[in-house]
Subunit: 324 residues, 2 copies
């Protein structure tokens, strides 16, 4: 049983990462207004959030910049233009996907960039490519996380091998990413234990990025915190792909470190997130995400179902069970 002191006290090591623009960007093709971004940045500082993830460093050879908002590419110049001078109260991060980033070219030396942290996203079968990116970012001076996606689909033996490889790399943090939103808290606990056993030995931190397909994004995040995971992703109003993520308001109401502040988060939700949703941008839990989560499938079919404004859940269930 976890210590009750974990609930009433706090661990100062816990870092909160705002992933609204990165995971939420998958919902609106990264088309956030400059004023939204600036206000989110100021809100994060007031709320005590440690890292703000602005989007992806995507390859402009693979993706047409005309078809997406600028936060899919996160040019350093665009960041500086919107955010202004760096504030030491918060660190800026971007995600770089294995196989979809010209990292050698598009990621500059940290001293010439507004960015502080590169988050390398990989599936479990592309760890060597991830390590090349991790080493590149580390050499350039960045803090580096490695986010192993779709962890609910990975075998335990493979996870252990991946962790052994990554613990030889210069990555600072290794993430549990439940991309399919398929994990129950008991499974999160087991995976966290596996991660922590290896990572603690090598002086690396462990992170959690949860999805809400089973209405468990917040529950799985606090389960992981109770297990010793120190880096936690959250998004305002839970905005994120499909069923969305652990909501920032949930997370900050749970954390007891007085450096965190719920009030500005509620203000931002009222002033920006509610209008964003009312303007027709759709995310969040619904039955179609429960179904793909329950079947441990990628949510792409459920996202298409949502986009087409279907509500024939039974027909959808029949379709995806047949795919299994």
């Amino acid at each position: 049983m976890k210590e009750i002191s974990h609930l009433l006290g706090y661990r100062k090591e816990i870092k909160v990462v705002d992933a609204t623009m990165r995971d939420g960007g998958l919902v609106n093709d990264f088309r956030f207004e400059d004023e939204f971004v600036k206000s989110l940045y100021m809100t994060n500082i007031r709320a005590g959030v440690d890292y703000m993830e602005l989007g992806y460093k995507s390859s402009k050879e693979m993706f047409d910049p005309k078809k997406f908002g600028k936060w899919k590419f996160c040019n350093d110049e665009d960041i500086v233009k919107v955010i202004g001078d760096k504030n030491p109260a918060i660190k800026l991060a971007v995600m770089a996907d294995v196989g979809r980033t010209n990292y050698k070219q598009d990621i500059r030396e940290r001293k010439n960039s507004p960015l502080d942290c590169i988050r390398v996203a990989t599936y479990i079968n592309t760890i060597p490519a991830a390590i090349d990116m991790i080493e590149d970012a580390k050499k350039k001076g960045y803090e580096v996380t490695c986010n192993i996606m779709a962890i609910s689909n990975a075998r335990e033996g493979d996870i252990k091998v991946a962790l052994d490889m990554l613990c030889q790399s210069p990555a600072d943090v290794i993430y549990i990413v439940d991309s399919f939103g398929a994990l129950f808290p008991e499974q999160v606990q087991r995976i966290a234990d596996t991660y922590l056993e290896v990572c603690t030995k090598h002086g690396k931190q462990v992170g959690i990025h949860a999805h809400n397909n089973l209405q468990l994004a917040f529950a799985n995040s606090i389960e992981a915190i109770g297990d010793g995971v120190n880096w936690v992703d959250a998004t305002y109003y839970g905005m994120g792909r499909g069923a969305g993520n652990c909501s920032m308001e949930n997370l900050l109401s749970f954390l007891r470190n007085p450096k965190f502040n719920l009030y500005p988060v509620i203000q931002f939700v009222e002033n920006y997130m509610v209008p964003l949703r009312e303007s027709g941008t759709v995310w969040g839990y619904d039955l179609q995400y429960l179904m793909t989560g329950y079947l441990n499938q990628h949510p792409r079919t459920a996202i298409a179902f949502t986009k087409e404004k279907r509500n024939d859940y039974i027909e959808f269930y029949t379709e995806i069970v047949a795919q299994d």
Copy 2:
């Protein structure tokens, strides 16, 4: 750490209680169409649900039957008219509130009633009155549960005394009821342990009724199941007061006993619950419920906020923090 076998296997002792009409009735003043009720009943049988709670046995002296749907009163004649002949595949239950029920008069002998189970709802300071109702229902031949409401507000010492008293009564099941939706899974675990220690000695079962104010209704329910709680309440599409309850579709997708069936639940949600919501009946998680849950307050202010269609979350937060 809980055994992984709990997740892949199942305990045949687990009983699922559909509380849609009772807790959901608090949202629409118990105005469910006969066809809805009949279809829900047939769905529950196909889904393998063990108990269906139809509503309250409320005092007609205290509440005007003209102002509510019939399921606030659950006259035996009304039940028989809508449900038809009893089917041994499912048991029927009603809730009887301490201080709001003419139980001696309104609850008949079980052999003359379509009902099988009386659920006595009490606060922790009215246990003697609850025991009088439990004894009355038991004498009349019913299965009896005692549901201790607002447990997040009860002191641990009081809970132990209440359990000692109830374990001397003929109640079959004693419920953890998180009326304020304020508990985290770690707290559920502690309360469940306290309940189970006393109840197991006396051959009584423990139940859980969760609310979704912190987006934890499902998480807290499966936490309790993992701890040894065998009676679990759920509602279709999570319909229930304020932020609603643990959803039936979540719960049945989690339980591994092949007697449970998710498919008819999805059918019912598509055919009845989605239209009910689209017709303007409002329930489910939103920021105002997070705030009352987080402050461990009764959700009545958040329900009023919802009814008035307000979205000035910051003003609301200021109001309820001032009340604390």
